[in-house]
């Protein structure tokens, strides 16, 4: 440690041993609570018997992986996971950013503050509740279809047509999480120096030019790390949302990795099998995020590493 300090001529890092001191506790935490349990991932290659324990169970190599990859359902689940997540990314990702930017443009403090609070409330609703609301709104006798029929239109099979169901899935996702997600962008916006805006105003820049040339560049680092992290999650998907919003008519669309693992692995007490699929997802996730991060850094972004 001391040698390193001596070798540094950079004032910037003069006190950098203190930086390592700061890292001690977080690293110990990382090892104890994140990496120690990861040893358990080895059950993916074992015939796990909970009474023999992780170590003493028999090794069986890639049997679980072979079983998973051999089933047609598994690949359908992967395809569905990717489609639903890509939609979330394309539609769901920009919305909180747009909301935050325009909320920032809003002058009326009351509207600004109340809408912030209220838009983040849906985050507290569980998917069971949301699924109930979705049915009241989108079912064949639901609010929207009643309205459509009154206006002389035809009722739309929102929940039974797989394609339209996906839209419902994405829109409810936005509804549930956009208000919560925009908080992080609002926080990022606070660091913009107001004098920048004033200068732009004096230069005669219009509102949208100001957004384009001042606000967005300021948000850029936050947007890029959020995008990288979201891209890394493209293989993982929650259980509740597709399961509770889905129904048997859209099962071929709504069956995703998590629901697949749940019925085939966890419900049958097959932790080894579930772990194997989880491991597969994790590896893909990590590889993806490393690639995306490399790309981002090539384009001059900070990246997350």
């Amino acid at each position: 440690m001391e040698e390193k300090i001596k070798s540094l001529d950079n004032k910037y890092l003069k006190n950098h041993w203190q930086l390592y001191v700061m890292l001690i506790v977080p690293l110990i935490h990382l090892i104890i609570f994140k990496y120690l349990p990861m040893v358990g991932t080895m059950v993916a290659f074992k015939d796990y018997n909970i009474f023999q324990g992780i170590w003493k169970s028999d090794w069986i190599g890639f049997t679980h992986f072979k079983e998973a990859f051999a089933s047609k359902e598994f690949w359908i689940a992967i395809k569905n996971t990717l489609i639903l997540n890509l939609g979330d990314l394309l539609i769901g990702f920009p919305i909180p950013i747009i909301l935050a930017i325009f909320l920032n443009e809003l002058n009326g403090e009351k509207v600004k503050k109340t809408s912030q609070v209220i838009m983040y409330l849906p985050h507290f609703l569980s998917w069971v509740i949301i699924a109930g609301i979705v049915q009241q709104v989108f079912s064949n006798n639901g609010l929207i279809n009643q309205l459509l029929i009154k206006l002389g239109g035809k009722s739309v099979p929102f929940l039974s047509n797989p394609g339209i169901w996906r839209m419902v899935y994405w829109i409810t996702g936005i509804w549930q999480s956009a208000g919560y997600g925009l908080i992080i962008y609002l926080a990022a916006l606070t660091s913009i120096d107001p004098s920048l805006y004033e200068a732009a105003y004096i230069d005669g820049a219009g509102r949208f030019r100001r957004i384009w040339y001042i606000t967005l560049p300021q948000l850029r680092p936050t947007i890029s790390i959020m995008l990288i992290m979201n891209l890394g999650k493209i293989m993982s998907i929650s259980f509740d949302r597709p399961y509770l919003l889905g129904n048997v008519l859209v099962k071929d669309t709504a069956n995703v990795i998590s629901t697949h693992v749940y019925t085939l692995g966890l419900q049958s007490g097959r932790f080894d099998f579930a772990t194997a699929i989880g491991l597969f997802q994790s590896v893909i996730g990590v590889i993806l995020i490393l690639i995306v991060n490399q790309l981002a850094q090539k384009f001059g972004e900070e990246g997350i590493l």
């Binding site: 909970i50 023999q52 047609k72 109930g132 079912s139 039974s160 048997v248 008519l249 019925t263 007490g269």
Partner: protein, 539 residues
């Protein structure tokens, strides 16, 4: 700003420290508690020549409904048990709360961690079989023989045998209350009467009435009418199983072993039943687009608003979930009565009943030393009188039918009795008056005062006629552990899709969905069950 920051941070630090103190304080408490308990043992050793009592940790479900000031594991009910069992069996019972929902998962991790209570239980046969097969359970055979005379008497050979796997008693199955059919039909009696008819007595009569409901709208509800209401729940086969199952001839014993519970829906003869349901659906008798209603919300609304003419449901759900209460307050003349009329191809009424056994009570293999105490405790609970004292409070009184007189919830809360005493009476729920029609009617009347005596008398007749108890295999089949949980879901999908298919497409949909089941392991299960029958039962 800086000052503010410093004060915030020091506040945070203070909180962290406080939490730290809290922890060490609680640790101190724990150790004194332990000391106390060891002292207690010594004291009782000195006081009497009795041996020190054996400590037994028993799982108890926590439903978050304990009386104010009490907990699920520590209340008047638990104290009564602890005192009596210490007195009579010299066993010191400690209750370990396990939240009711997620109970299986929690038991699972505790089993994996080797720190599960000495007595655990679950309704899941899959879980029980898995533990037994993997060597996680104590073989209770000899202990039951030695210390479980009351257990044997109360449960009987038939129920006890359900806890046997490979010849070893790995679990004590609980005994349920009066056996009823699992799913019952409910029909709007006032509508039937408005048509000038009597309640249906056969499947065909029922179908005819359902068509008349649609044509004549006896309840005058207009276009909201649903002759046969169904929900889209993805966890239950109650909406179709009894109907399609009634097309299956179960007189062959081998079939009885192979096609149990939901597997019955994939019996080749059940296809005819699906065809009929498919026709009913396309004729507008069955609720349109019911599979979308996954929460059953619209289904419940159809019932309680009086739009629904007929449903298939869990035997008492419309009554005890307050649906009928709500229906009657919306439509005062409504009468929604239970019927049981789906006869089999031979014209006989054999409706699948609730199983005789309830949950599986197990002793983990790491608790083998406690097996004797565990059986002594369970044996104490197996005494109906003891269990009734736990269930209805120690000094309960009875009415003329022998039914304990209900004490109001408020009064029970005030005295600190358990929120759900049934969670303590794990061995038997079959009371001294169970199986007695008059007694049960009087019990139901006091619980659901909004219905009449006549209502419950006919209800009793409907749900206790044609009872058919399905056999339970005394082995855990490999294929079942592997595929059954997934198949449970797929069978519901198979059924719903077959019912709502376009009639011209029915054959194709049925075949396609059936093949999906075969690919998902159905064939393995059918084969292994057949082999089990040939090897164990047929001999």
């Amino acid at each position: 700003m800086k000052k503010k920051l410093v004060s915030t941070l020091s506040l945070l630090l203070a909180i962290v420290l406080l939490v730290g103190c809290g922890k060490s304080a609680s640790k101190g408490e724990e150790s004194t508690k332990e000391e106390e308990s060891t002292k207690e043992v010594i004291r009782s050793e000195k006081g009497e020549d009795k041996e020190a009592p054996v400590e037994l940790n028993v799982m108890i479900w926590d439903r978050g409904n304990a009386a104010p000031g009490t907990t699920a594991e520590d209340n008047t009910t638990s104290k009564f048990i602890q005192e009596s069992v210490l007195e009579e069996c010299n066993v010191k019972v400690n209750f370990v709360p396990v939240p009711r929902s997620g109970s299986n998962d929690k038991v699972n991790v505790m089993m994996a961690g080797g720190n599960a209570p000495d007595i655990v239980f679950s309704y899941s046969r899959n879980l029980f079989g898995d533990y037994a097969k993997k060597g996680g359970l104590t073989d209770l055979t000899s202990y039951v023989d030695e210390f479980g005379s009351q257990l044997k008497e109360t449960l009987g050979e038939e129920i006890l045998s359900i806890g046997v796997i490979g010849g070893k008693q790995y679990a004590i199955p609980a005994k349920r209350d009066t056996q009823k059919i699992r799913h019952a039909g409910y029909i709007r009696k006032d509508w039937v009467e408005a048509l000038g008819k009597e309640l249906p007595k056969s499947k065909q009569e029922l179908i005819d009435i359902l068509y008349e409901f649609k044509e004549k709208d006896p309840g005058k509800v207009g276009d909201k009418l649903v002759s046969w209401a169904m929900g889209g729940n993805q966890d239950t086969e109650k909406y179709f199983l009894n109907f399609v199952g009634s097309y299956v001839d179960m007189s062959n014993e081998k079939d009885q072993y192979i096609y149990t519970e939901n597997i019955k829906a994939v019996h080749p003869s059940a296809k005819e039943g699906f065809k009929v349901m498919n026709k009913l659906y396309n004729d507008g008798i069955i609720k349109e687009d019911f599979p979308i209603d996954t929460n059953d919300d619209i289904y419940k609304q159809d019932i309680t608003n009086g739009y629904a003419g007929f449903i298939l449901e869990d035997n008492m759900r419309p009554i005890d979930q307050h649906w009928i209460e709500a229906l009657v307050s919306n439509v005062p003349e409504a009468e929604f009565v239970a019927i049981n009329v789906l006869e089999d191809p031979n014209g006989k009424l054999i409706t699948p009943a609730d199983p005789l056994h309830g949950m599986y009570i197990m002793v983990p293999s790491v608790s083998e030393k406690k097996a004797e105490a565990a059986i002594k405790y369970l044996n104490w609970l197996a005494n109906t009188e003891n269990s009734m004292k736990v269930m209805f409070t120690p000094d309960y009184t009875t009415d003329e039918n022998g039914v304990p007189i209900a004490i109001s919830r408020d009064e029970l809360d005030e005295q600190g009795y358990a929120g759900t005493p049934n969670d303590f009476t794990i061995v038997t729920q079959y009371w001294s008056y169970s199986g007695n029609k008059d007694a049960l009617v009087s019990e139901w009347l006091s619980t659901y005062p909004f219905l009449s005596k006549e209502y419950f008398e006919s209800f009793y007749d409907a749900v206790t006629s044609g009872l058919y108890t399905e056999p339970v295999l005394q082995e855990i089949l490999e294929s079942e552990t592997k595929y059954l949980a997934n198949l449970d879901k797929l069978i519901i999908e198979f059924a719903y899709k077959s019912i709502i298919a376009d009639p011209s497409n029915f054959e194709k949909t049925y075949e396609e969905e059936y093949n999906k089941l075969i690919q998902a392991g159905l064939q393995e299960i059918l084969d292994e069950r057949a082999a089990y029958y040939d090897n164990n039962v047929a001999k």
